[in-house]
């Protein structure tokens, strides 16, 4: 079996074991959080008979282990149960809200990499000169304030004082786009509606920027630090002494090896957006999974909590696999195995 395939299979098996562990953990934690989910859902006026009936329907009157067996059986059939929050199957909620958050994360990730890495490269190549200082100030600002602060700042600047961007939802009301993938940018293109695509793009810019700002700061600082370190390596100094063009040295000899440690952090930053997007989603009325996750916790919607946490955990684990594969692909020492 090729080493790459073996590595992927190994990672997948580990992922399944971790997911199983997470499911037990979150299943128990959700039930320990104070509050009776059924009473919260039915309200204070519901009779005890109503409460008991719903509790029995949700198997909450059974021992914890039995409840978990029911849960596992249903999950294996693709059923996370009904949400007490939305009164719909949790799987339907996830299917509806996850694409919105993934789309936001992907655009934010592109902005994070597209802006953060060039800034880091610029800072490293102009070390201790004014562009480096400017990048340092910008990145410090980026990492020192959380995403929701940037959300409000961006909203004030680009929607209140200079109203050029919309601030709520994923697309303007005047467009009716049939849902195919759940990714609005993709669906507008599939519908062949470029005006709608432009509108959806305008809607995603501010929330994606707000979500990306912290990551931009982190990736720029990391890239700069790694590149500065690599510039000091003998092979980079040798290339400089041979008089190779600065751009070639940066691109071929310095940036590529510097990218490997940055990539790991960027990958984890990207995955953590799923959990951290809640406030940005709230500020921009973005109907995503993070916002849903917090709402289900507040009303102690057991099925909603477990479903959301499992999806977030799975996303983290998948991102981890992707990052490992990228590092494996970029780093010849791993790729070439024992020959290094």
């Amino acid at each position: 079996m090729p080493p790459a395939l073996r590595a992927v299979l190994g990672k997948l098996i580990t992922t399944l074991i971790v997911l199983f562990g997470v499911s037990i953990l979150i299943f128990c934690i959700a039930r320990i959080i104070p509050g009776d989910p059924v009473r919260i859902a039915l309200g204070p006026n519901a009779s005890q008979d109503m409460v008991d009936a719903l509790r029995a329907q949700m198997h909450l009157d059974a021992p914890l282990v039995t409840q978990y067996v029911y849960f596992l059986r249903d999950v294996l059939h693709g059923d996370f149960g009904m949400s007490l929050y939305s009164k719909r199957p949790v799987i339907a909620d996830i299917a509806q809200f996850l694409p919105a958050t993934l789309e936001l994360m992907i655009v934010a990730g592109i902005i994070m990499v597209g802006v953060g890495l060039p800034m880091g490269i610029l800072a490293a190549r102009t070390r201790d000169r004014w562009p480096d200082h400017l990048v340092r100030v910008i990145t410090l600002l980026g990492v020192s304030a959380p995403g929701f602060v940037w959300a409000v700042v961006l909203m004030l600047i680009f929607a209140y004082f200079v109203p050029i961007f919309p601030i709520a939802g994923r697309i303007s009301n005047s467009f009716q786009i049939p849902q195919v993938t759940g990714f609005m940018l993709v669906d507008t293109l599939l519908a062949g509606n470029l005006a709608a695509f432009a509108d959806a793009f305008r809607h995603i810019i501010l929330p994606a920027c707000a979500l990306a700002v912290t990551g931009i700061g982190q990736s720029a600082r990391l890239t700069r630090a790694n590149m500065v370190e690599t510039y000091r390596k003998p092979y980079a100094e040798m290339a400089q002494s041979y008089g190779f063009p600065a751009g070639r040295i940066a691109r071929r000899y310095v940036f590529k090896p510097s990218l490997i440690p940055s990539l790991t952090v960027i990958g984890l930053d990207f995955a953590s957006m799923l959990g951290g997007a809640f406030l940005v989603e709230s500020v921009f009325a973005w109907p995503g999974l993070s916002r849903y996750g917090v709402n289900v916790i507040l009303v102690k919607d057991l099925n909603g909590i477990v479903g959301t946490v499992l999806v977030i955990a799975a996303t983290f684990l998948i991102m981890n696999i992707i990052v490992d594969l990228l590092v494996w692909w970029l780093n010849p020492r791993f790729r070439l195995g024992g020959r290094s």
Partner: protein, 536 residues
């Protein structure tokens, strides 16, 4: 910096700027006849399972009930019913209109009413508790329904306000497998579609984002000329977002949950302030099982020491409009049994000290535990006010923040219920029974509506009488007696009679939310969309 690199960077920045400017310029045209408002998520479009404010707004616009609260007055008027009657208070006969059709085109008949009640009771969610006393309903003929009650229940007609009528045939066509003989009672289908006679129908629904509705052109009561063609009910917008949207002209009516200072800022920016009586009150609730609050004199001392005027200032939105009005007793104004404005409650420190002298406990020996719900930041201000007031009597007072779920769990036992908690209680039907029974009857203790844990035979007896007495005048007298008894026991403080306030754009005209002569006595009926005019 290498020149090649600078050029590339410059080109990239230029391209990004051009793209952003082009996209920013591509503003879509505003749709005409659209009303945009917001409420707390989630929205539930199935009125048999929904219970919250958003759910009720959806229910009254997508469905109709047999009766409705009377606009510009008190009491109830027929809606899908023509009339109702009862001989003995145990059997109610309701005559239905024969000119109403559902969205599907099916005529509305007595069978649909029976089905709607059976569905509500079988699902056992939402406001089904209002129909606990209804044993059965039967279709006497196509347009006559007979309800049989297990015992006399005077608020029955009021409860009918919350019984929306479903199109039985359409729902039956969309049953999914379930635990009962009726499968899932159509819950899956009805979570995305409507099957009512209402003025609006569902176009799309996302419980966390928005519900889009459009006019039902065949609605039997017709529309105001400028009533909205389309309504977009958005969910859980942040105050900063609502403020920006209204300022941009992209939103029409805010929810009542906007902080007073944001409403005030919007009003200063030109927005209109709309309001509606909440048929309820914001209560400070004493756990009557814990010392020193198990002594009525101690509770009366605290009630008299409370600074009602400062509480009202905390919820004032403008000079003229506030989220609360001065209370006159424990039954809010507008409900049966409420005292008139000559009984307006005021802080009275002399009286407070007099009651305190009769209390069997020494204040300095006790620390009052004042809780506030983390999800409602305004409650922290009230907690600080309570602390300031109660320490004047010599009590020590500690403030404790707790999440709603924890509070809902703690109130299930008197030992864990906080000594002092804060709850906004409103009535679902406009009848005092729907508010008071679940707060003060000893059999209803142990929920977030009743952290008082009151156990008083006279209160129980008056509440039971209020349920069974069908003569309105006698009922009013019973609830007046109840109010007097409660004021003597002081299980709670009515901080203020609640009023829902909303910020609205100047693009809309909503007499049911602005003209006292046209307001409904029950919230959120002011959000009957067909009565709101939208100027384009």
């Amino acid at each position: 910096m290498a020149p090649e690199f600078s050029k590339r960077l410059g080109a990239a920045l230029l391209a990004a700027t051009c793209l952003t400017t082009t996209l920013a310029a591509a503003q879509p045209a505003l749709a005409h006849g659209v009303l945009r408002l917001d409420e707390s998520a989630p929205g539930d479009i199935d009125p048999a399972t929904g219970n919250d404010n958003a759910d009720t707004i959806l229910s009254i616009n997508l469905y109709d009930a047999l009766v409705a609260p009377k606009q510009g007055g008190t009491g109830y008027v027929p809606l899908l019913a023509r009339s109702w009657s009862t001989e003995d208070g145990l059997t109610y006969t309701v005559d239905l209109r024969d000119d109403v059709t559902f969205l599907s085109g099916n005529p509305m008949t007595a069978e649909d009413v029976v089905f709607s009640l059976d569905r509500m009771k079988a699902l056992g969610q939402g406001v089904s508790y209002l129909f606990d006393k209804v044993e059965s309903a039967k279709a006497v003929d196509a347009h006559t329904v007979q309800f049989t009650l297990s015992s006399k229940f005077a608020p029955f007609v009021a409860a009918l306000v919350r019984l929306p009528i479903f199109d039985k045939k359409t729902v039956m066509d969309h049953l999914e497998p379930g635990d009962t003989q009726m499968g899932d009672w159509g819950t899956k289908w009805l979570s995305q579609h409507s099957a009512g006679t209402g003025a609006y129908s569902v176009v799309s629904h996302n419980p966390q984002e928005e519900t889009v509705m459009q006019r039902n052109p065949d609605y039997f009561l017709g529309f105001d000329e400028a009533a909205p063609d389309t309504v977009r009910l958005r969910y859980s917008l942040e105050p900063a977002t609502v403020r920006t949207l209204i300022a941009q002209g992209e939103h029409d009516i805010s929810s009542q949950w906007l902080p007073p200072e944001v409403m005030s800022a919007l009003a200063k920016g030109g927005a209109q302030l709309l309001s509606e009586p909440a048929a309820g009150a914001f209560y400070i609730k004493f756990n009557t099982r814990k010392p020193p609050l198990d002594d009525a004199n101690c509770r009366l001392a605290l009630a008299n020491a409370f600074d009602y005027a400062s509480a009202l200032k905390l919820v004032a939105v403008s000079k003229d409009i506030s989220q609360g009005t001065a209370p006159t007793g424990l039954i809010p104004k507008g409900l049966m049994g409420a005292d008139d404005e000559s009984h307006t409650l005021k802080q009275d420190m002399a009286k407070a000290k007099e009651y305190l002298s009769q209390c069997k406990y020494t204040p300095s020996d006790y620390t009052l535990d004042i809780s506030w719900i983390g999800e409602v930041p305004l409650e922290e201000r009230f907690a600080l006010l309570l602390q300031a007031n109660f320490t004047q009597l010599g009590f020590k007072a500690e403030i404790r923040k707790m999440p709603w779920a924890l509070f809902a769990s703690q109130v299930t036992s008197p030992e864990t219920t906080p000594m002092i908690s804060q709850v906004l209680n409103t009535t679902a039907t406009g009848d005092p029974d729907a508010l008071l029974y679940n707060m003060y009857h000893s059999s209803a203790a142990g929920t977030w509506a009743s952290p008082e844990w009151l156990k008083d035979d006279q209160v129980d007896s008056l509440l039971d009488e209020g349920r069974t007495e069908t003569d309105p005048e006698k009922r009013d007298a019973i609830y007046h007696q109840l109010n007097d008894r409660l004021m003597a026991l002081a299980p709670s403080i009515n901080m203020y009679d609640a009023q829902e306030v909303f910020a609205g754009s100047t693009r809309i005209s909503a007499p049911a939310l602005s003209d006292p002569e046209k307001k409904f006595p029950l919230s959120p009926f002011g959000f009957t969309f067909r009565l709101i005019d939208v100027k384009d």
